[in-house]
């Protein structure tokens, strides 16, 4: 499976600011996804990061709040905009690749705390 890294691993931010999270993969992957895991909760899919086109967002998530970029097949960013304490979560990227696009592998996550 691919090796996935995320930056930053954790951050503490002030209300009203924005944070960009990076996801880097060591090989080209077909699909990249972004998930949110709120404290004590399960994972919820935010969006699919599409290479060369706009991301596909799930119900309840909008581009203005969570803009996503995917400039190539190994890298994606998720920005959490105009943050509030309710955005405090772990944000994880995942990838699906090659002939096994039906299986997702996850990065280590970014733990975000908003004060």
């Amino acid at each position: 499976s691919a090796v996935i890294s995320q930056k930053p691993s954790r951050d503490i931010c002030q209300r009203g600011t924005s944070l960009t999270i990076q996801c880097q993969v060591d090989s080209q992957v077909t699909m990249m996804f972004w998930y949110r895991q709120q404290p004590g909760q399960s994972l919820t899919l935010i969006a699919t990061a599409n290479q060369g086109s706009e991301a596909t967002y799930e119900s309840g998530f909008v581009i203005d709040k969570f803009p996503i970029s995917r400039p190539n097949l190994t890298f994606s960013t998720l920005t959490v905009s105009n943050m509030s304490p309710e955005d405090s979560s772990i944000y994880l990227c995942s990838v699906a690749t090659g002939t096994s696009t039906d299986t997702q592998y996850f990065g280590p996550g970014t733990r975000l705390t908003v004060l």
Partner: protein
């Protein structure tokens, strides 16, 4: 819509004891089923997956899971738990084909927190 239920929020077992974590799913067709483990401060690691074929699947770290269509279940088992197995376990169901490029939309259960007593 697909859904996953993990009825046990917390489970405590003694080291060396056997383990079974329950997972029930709701899905209209043959599901793609996964178990992931999340250790404290870590991302999710894939333990095993079921797509088709043999209903008993083997995974990493000595885990196995059995798909039972009649019960809509995919329970995770381990014959002898080690202290390092303490973590949160997530069951997920995937819906292949929801994306034009392939891939799966994963729906996760709420997780089961496993505590291992020494």
């Amino acid at each position: 819509a697909q859904s996953v239920t993990q009825p046990d929020i917390h489970i405590t077992v003694s080291e060396g004891a056997s383990l079974e974590l329950r997972c029930n799913y709701s899905y209209g067709a043959t599901p793609y089923l996964f178990w992931y483990v999340q250790s404290p401060g870590q991302g999710l690691q894939l333990l095993l997956k079921y797509f088709s074929g043999d209903t008993l699947v083997q995974g990493i770290k000595g885990f196995e899971a059995e798909f039972k269509r009649s019960q809509s279940s995919f329970n995770l088992r381990k014959p002898s738990v080690h202290w390092s197995d303490a973590a949160e376990y997530f069951c997920a169901v995937g819906d292949l084909g929801l994306y034009t490029g392939g891939g799966n939309k994963l729906t996760f259960g709420t997780g089961t927190q496993l505590k291992v007593e020494l």
